[in-house]
Symmetry: C2
Subunit: 686 residues, 2 copies
Amino acid sequence: MRELERLFNPRTVAVVGATPKEGKVGNTLLRNLLRFEGEVYAVNPKYERVLGVRCFHSLREIPADVDLAVVAVPAHAVLGVLEECASLNIQNVVVISAGFKEAGKEGAALEAELVRICRRNGINLVGPNCLGVISTHARLNATFSKRMPPAGNIALLSQSGALILAVLDWAVQQHIGFSKVVSLGNKAVLDESDFLEFLASDAETDVVALYLESVEDGRRFMRIAEEIEKPVVVLKSGKTSAGARAASSHTGALAGSTEVFNAAMRQCGVATADSLEELFDYASTLSLLRGRLIRNIAIVTNSGGPGVLAADAVETFNLSLANFSRETLKKLRDALPEEANIYNPVDILGDADALRLGRALEIVASDENVDAVLVILTPTAPMDFEKASDVLLKVNSACKVACFIGGESVKDAVARLRHAGIPNFFDPFRAVRAISVAKCRFRKKKRKEFRRFSVNREEVRRFIEHLREIRFEGVVGVEGFPLLEAYGIPVAPSGVARTSAEAVETARSIGFPVAMKILSPEIVHKSDVGCVKLNLRSEEEVEKAFHEIISRAEKYTTKIGGVLVQKMFSGGREVIVGMKRDMHFGPVVMFGLGGIFVEVFKDVSFRIAPISVEDAFEMLAETKSFSILKGARGEEPSDIEAIAEVLMRISQLCTDFPEITEIDINPLKVFERGCVALDFRMVVKL
Amino acid sequence: MRELERLFNPRTVAVVGATPKEGKVGNTLLRNLLRFEGEVYAVNPKYERVLGVRCFHSLREIPADVDLAVVAVPAHAVLGVLEECASLNIQNVVVISAGFKEAGKEGAALEAELVRICRRNGINLVGPNCLGVISTHARLNATFSKRMPPAGNIALLSQSGALILAVLDWAVQQHIGFSKVVSLGNKAVLDESDFLEFLASDAETDVVALYLESVEDGRRFMRIAEEIEKPVVVLKSGKTSAGARAASSHTGALAGSTEVFNAAMRQCGVATADSLEELFDYASTLSLLRGRLIRNIAIVTNSGGPGVLAADAVETFNLSLANFSRETLKKLRDALPEEANIYNPVDILGDADALRLGRALEIVASDENVDAVLVILTPTAPMDFEKASDVLLKVNSACKVACFIGGESVKDAVARLRHAGIPNFFDPFRAVRAISVAKCRFRKKKRKEFRRFSVNREEVRRFIEHLREIRFEGVVGVEGFPLLEAYGIPVAPSGVARTSAEAVETARSIGFPVAMKILSPEIVHKSDVGCVKLNLRSEEEVEKAFHEIISRAEKYTTKIGGVLVQKMFSGGREVIVGMKRDMHFGPVVMFGLGGIFVEVFKDVSFRIAPISVEDAFEMLAETKSFSILKGARGEEPSDIEAIAEVLMRISQLCTDFPEITEIDINPLKVFERGCVALDFRMVVKL
């Protein structure tokens, strides 16, 4: 792990490019650092003092060790500064300057050189092309944002500097507290994974919120996220481009970058947000909870309507309304007017004052079935919101969320709550959604069990070696069946026939009935053009089918590789197992119920390989059609374990052989006991 | 239509129960009415003057005609006041007082009497148990909320008074303008439909926003909503109880109250919101548009990240990024720096000022491919938000939405925009969602075509008459096939056999192959217990099947009605057509693709009967599995027209016979030409 402690807690900071010119980045930077309690130096050959701070002509002249250098000089001068940092053994550098990779070819070359210097000298580089870093507890604002947010326990990492500008401005107004804020910039050296790794053991951070446009090393990110004992929430942009990529397999077509990203985050226990609001709503709730789980909510309200809206949302977001204990109900009955509703959501009625609210809150919060308390108040005449916020602040509950619905009447109370870290929402639906993020446990890697099957790796190696020799790259069909067998995946007994005599011979050795289909790279949907024949029960039928298939195929193509003769399996269910490689996350394993379910409902699930036993079973259970596999309505259940095993074996195969870039087993036929691959397609890149 | 003009524009208002006691409803009411420009009278036998207003001992003593009486006296005294209103011919009365239906049996009796008086005397009654009404353009605040919202073009109807309190408080702060606000209370006389009908021709209202907990007369509401030429948005609470009801049919189980409500709203062109925020986000956008459609959005931003978030949301909400014309692109290229992105979303870069923003906005707004402009700004140093809001206000576009992301820096600019009716959102996702409500045209009834089939209504009448004679209520099975035939729905040739000889005889007359299944009210999933035999091709097979079915059935039940022998249809697709009666909307027709699609994916659609030709085809197209019916992947397409016709015929059947409360045709087998009902189940209540 990189030692980033001094980046966020430097004793000395130098601003390279400091300037007295108002409005310039080098001016704002230094101005922001005036409030920092450690030593601050300005560096600029043109000045002796800047904003009252002693200014040096170069870093070298500073009569102290510099823990952090913040660089805001033109791009072409940055390399020189970095060389100087290297020679002075300055380990933490933030490069604010733009004009690197984001600015075309020349900038990219500059950035490559920058990276080289940093790597060679072990420099922790933030940026370039970034806003800087903030460490509230150290009172360090090394950014050119004028806003210093309140100190809090949320760390924010953002790939967009503009977004940080906006969020800080908003955070000050809304009293949202942060521990650290990092503008990732071009992520030339330090990326989200490095900071996540550091934050894992940062005592000031309880929650990590990320805004990402890309993930540099998806697998490393997952590994770190799996280890971190803190909730992580991420908002990723760039969904639009997802569907654009052409794909040559089912799995490829279905595994868009968004689907893969979301599956990866689920797999490593990171919550995903769909919007900026959600990101901060979730982070706010999680910052209260310090890892506690929420399932059962108690709602206390002075108005029926909004109470019902919240109860609806509890159902929508798969939470539960807490079932109060008998004792709680008795206490509520005693404390509240007769017409009040003592069941959840508790309606303390429109004539309730803060005193009655307090009584009701104390009672429900002390019920051990209650994980979180949501208070929903409308501005009735008897409700004093200052007192109501007092009451809420005093209540002893791990998760208190407010929904004071109103404007002027609730404004001050809402601000008080926010100061105390209690989120308030105008909308009951949104309040419940914010709480719902805490319904999942953040999983830890240590609980995962990985199975490694004993396989014939050598055979696959030889197969691929052979392809390499004949310089074959592209699609391998059922002729790749031996690879599946080598990895312990059962395949249907089959043979390829080039003449009708061969077909009959093969059928006889396999045993009747058989299925036959054309082998041609140019006929994808074979059954659509009549090139599949099923349930052939005699030599005559096989012979006839062979001629029919060939003559139909010849209407479409001359590239005919023969006819596949395969043992016919009746009964069972068809599922798809697949794999593709994602640019950022590597091999992704896919599962789905066959045919129409995949095509029409896109009812598939993904996991990043290698997958654990738990992952494999979760993949199955995540699909809606899982109930069919389990044997809905008394039908024969399918062999779940067998499918899970195939998923794990495919995971092992693609982990072992990076040359295999896509796999479709479609269909894998699953029976009450066991399963068998009926068709196979893989893409090999050498 | 009730004449509600004087309710919202009275010349004279009397407050019955006015009191000088601070904090009492009768005091707040009168105080709020002091700002009203017409005549205001207080009524209370105890006082001569209240708050400087002349106070009369009774309504009778007022020396003028009273257009509107607002009543805030104890429940037991309300009837007396109403009798007095009736005798004085006061036509508009708002009863604020609680203690009626919501307060138990005694209150319900009081309310019934209240209704009687109003109906007898043609009194327009709002409430009881409500907050009152507001008419901003008339400067009338006849509620006990101290907040008078700004005047605007949104009318708000709410079944929760507390919600109005909250929304008014918030609206004042946020500068959301309303034309009328009505607290519906117990809806004893006037309900949402009455007000909607009035608002249809209210010149001050362009958008109607509703919060409902129930719909009194769903069909009337739909009829009025279909006629109204203004957008209507509704938030309905009370989803939680939806699933609770037991149901005896597929259709019954799937058509929960939420599903039916949403289908009904879609059918009559009303937009539905999932939350309070959505309700007002949608209303705000619609209030700008006056009926215009939005499809193509132009995004202009000074920061890449939030721009991408907005572009993602455009895809999520099925809108489009406008394709700029060549001319627009050229102009943008000339007006913006070289590094700027001139394609949608337009990135005017972080160093942009309001001037550059203005240039870009003018150019994209004048492109005729652009329906709406979304401006996303973060608080960069060069961006002056006051100027930015000026620029945005000046731009000539029908739909301008802002996303000024920030806190203090953007606050004043946001307030200025809101004053001018331009909504601002912190979150790009939410901004796009708000715009997306305007992507559907609000449909008008006149465009709908209804088909009335010539059917044998008499036969169904006789069938039901017979059931009435034998006092049969409950489930009718395939013995009801003649009803379907009478309504022109093809059914599979079938016969009921009580002996194996009868079975053979029936099979012979129908023709082989046949299917056979048990008839027993106690065996629901017949195939699960082996009581279905398919594809029987000879007399021997039929005889054997008969005995097998009977002997298996006898393990489960003694109630055996015989064995159904039915012509076997091979090929085709199975769909479900159903009907159930909803408490609020009456007969609801359901469509879904058969079996697993309905059970696992709940891929079904609903419409309230009678359904138009358009409705029938929309029902089909709304399901995800529609692509299968259309013939995915070169498979035989199903006869869409035939299914649509069955839906319309079922609609006609259930409209004609209210005694039929549930129908399942499951499956209806559909072929390339035509379709046929294979099983039937209906519930009759007499």
